[in-house]
């Protein structure tokens, strides 16, 4: 047994991550060298009394405090000695009751990569938006017949070009949303206000009609039912984007003239928009992946429709960011109901 313990201790010492275990009295049970280095502590600092009193990193103290107050696993990060450290504190059942395990990882290189990725994406987005704006403006004048009425064939070409420019733009918007969600920036830019869902639905429909060929007659297909006087307390633009992703799927993956119903309901705490279509539905085996990134059902119908598989992932992420939720009830061949719930 003693030999086994030595093997484990030596193993922990050589791990590329920092490990600290605490007993119920907050004393250090074990700590490896990487942990001491990342926390900027000497072994003598851990020998007496409370870990929280001796550890020089506030973020670690706070995470342990939260965990002691019956919270679940705590993730945190801090910067010390030029290093960016990611940490995780959790309960563990060790030799002592109420033990705490802290795992620390030097994420400096990871953060540098994230910064490079962010700067690269921002630069790509910036560089693409300007020429896209020129194309969009020029085509819009032609398309509106503002300079001169166009021959039918030219009008058709211009119309197709407008749709393609809009598709490119929608892709940039999705990439931007994805990037903001994954870097935590989306949360920082939330502007919470109170509005009625009808207003967000109207704006979503208007934007989709303008930008997606298969949504041109969306307004005629849409039926809004239920009470419109339950308000939503969320970010208006982001709510509109959630509705756009769900409505666009409903329009694209259902028969051309079939109705799409939005049922509004609420209970004072939460307002729900249920978006119902009579489309192709989703196979049972694929349901768990519906809201994951890059998910696309592979069948004849979906292959015929352009998409990047980001829409529902973005919709769910944005809904959760605002304290809401989104889920789906669907039956293959019959249609789907998406329930978007947001705080009232």
């Amino acid at each position: 047994m003693e030999h086994f313990t030595q093997v484990i201790e030596s193993f922990i010492e050589q791990l590329p991550v920092g490990i600290v275990t605490l007993g119920a009295d907050d004393g250090v049970v074990s700590v490896n060298k990487p942990a001491l280095s990342l926390l900027d502590m000497g072994i003598e600092d851990t020998l007496s009394g409370s870990f929280c009193k001796s550890v020089p990193v506030e973020e670690v103290r706070e995470a342990v405090d939260r965990l002691r107050n019956n919270s679940s696993t705590q993730n945190f990060f801090f910067e010390r000695g030029g290093k960016y450290v990611k940490g995780c504190a959790s309960h563990y059942a060790g030799p002592e009751e109420n033990g705490i395990l802290i795992v620390l990882e030097d994420a400096t290189a990871f953060r540098q990569m994230e910064t490079i990725k962010r700067e690269f994406l921002q630069s790509i987005l910036y560089s693409l938006r300007n020429p896209l704006a020129t194309l969009k403006t020029s085509l819009s004048i032609l398309n509106a017949g503002k300079i001169a009425p166009l021959p039918a064939s030219v009008q058709e070409i211009v119309g197709l070009s407008v749709l393609e420019v809009n598709r490119l733009n929608a892709l940039l918007v999705d990439l931007r949303d994805l990037f903001y969600i994954e870097t935590g920036l989306a949360e920082k830019e939330l502007e919470i206000e109170s509005f009625y869902p009808g207003k967000a639905i109207d704006r979503a429909v208007a934007d989709l009609e303008k930008t997606q060929d298969l949504c041109k007659d969306l307004k005629e297909r849409l039926r809004i039912e239920g009470r419109r006087d339950f308000s939503i307390k969320a970010d208006f633009e982001k709510t509109k984007r959630i509705i756009m992703h769900v409505l666009s799927n409903a329009a694209v993956f259902s028969p051309k003239e079939s109705p799409i119903v939005v049922r509004l309901s609420g209970n004072g705490l939460k307002t729900t928009m249920e978006i119902v279509d009579r489309g192709i539905g989703i196979a049972d085996a694929k349901k768990p992946f519906l809201f994951t990134k890059y998910f696309r059902e592979d069948n004849e119908k979906t292959r015929a429709v352009h998409g990047n598989g980001l829409g529902l992932f973005i919709a769910r992420s944005l809904a959760e960011l605002m304290g809401g939720s989104i889920y789906c009830e669907t039956m293959q061949g019959k249609g789907s109901s998406f329930f978007i719930g947001l705080p009232s």
Binding site: Q122, Y126, N130, L132, A133, K136, T137, K146, E191
Partner: protein, 123 residues
């Protein structure tokens, strides 16, 4: 009939040209300037009814141009719409905070831009 004078300050020359063509179709009288200093000079010489102002420009950036417009008595009343491809979280709030009248991200919908100009311009 008085045509609304719109000064577009942006170093993206092709976008300025296409926006000028587009706004003429909507009965505006647009003028372009390709950097901050030229924009300030043109605004000073021939006071426009409204300014469309890009942010990321070489030399003087849009925020500095906006600051100088707002600090010059002759120009301080001109509504300025920030018109940018640069990524800002809370771009609208930031623009308003700096003294702009509105904010539109590129690429924009032409009718949205026209509505915005009509809403803010004081002929």
């Amino acid at each position: 009939m008085h045509k609304m004078k719109v000064l577009i300050i942006d170093d993206e020359k092709l976008l300025v040209k296409s926006t000028i063509l587009a706004l003429r179709c909507f009965d505006f009288e647009p003028v372009g300037a390709f950097d901050g200093l030229e924009g300030l000079e043109k605004a000073h010489e021939n006071i426009p009814d409204i300014i469309l102002l890009d942010i990321m420009m070489p030399g003087m950036d849009g925020w500095e141009v906006l600051k100088r417009i707002k600090a010059t008595a002759k120009m301080s009343g001109i509504p300025v719409i920030i018109f940018t491809a640069r990524e800002y979280s809370n771009g609208y709030s930031l623009a308003i905070q700096q003294g702009a009248a509105d904010y539109i991200a590129k690429p924009f919908e032409l009718d949205e831009l026209v509505q915005m100009l009509n809403k803010h311009a004081v002929p």
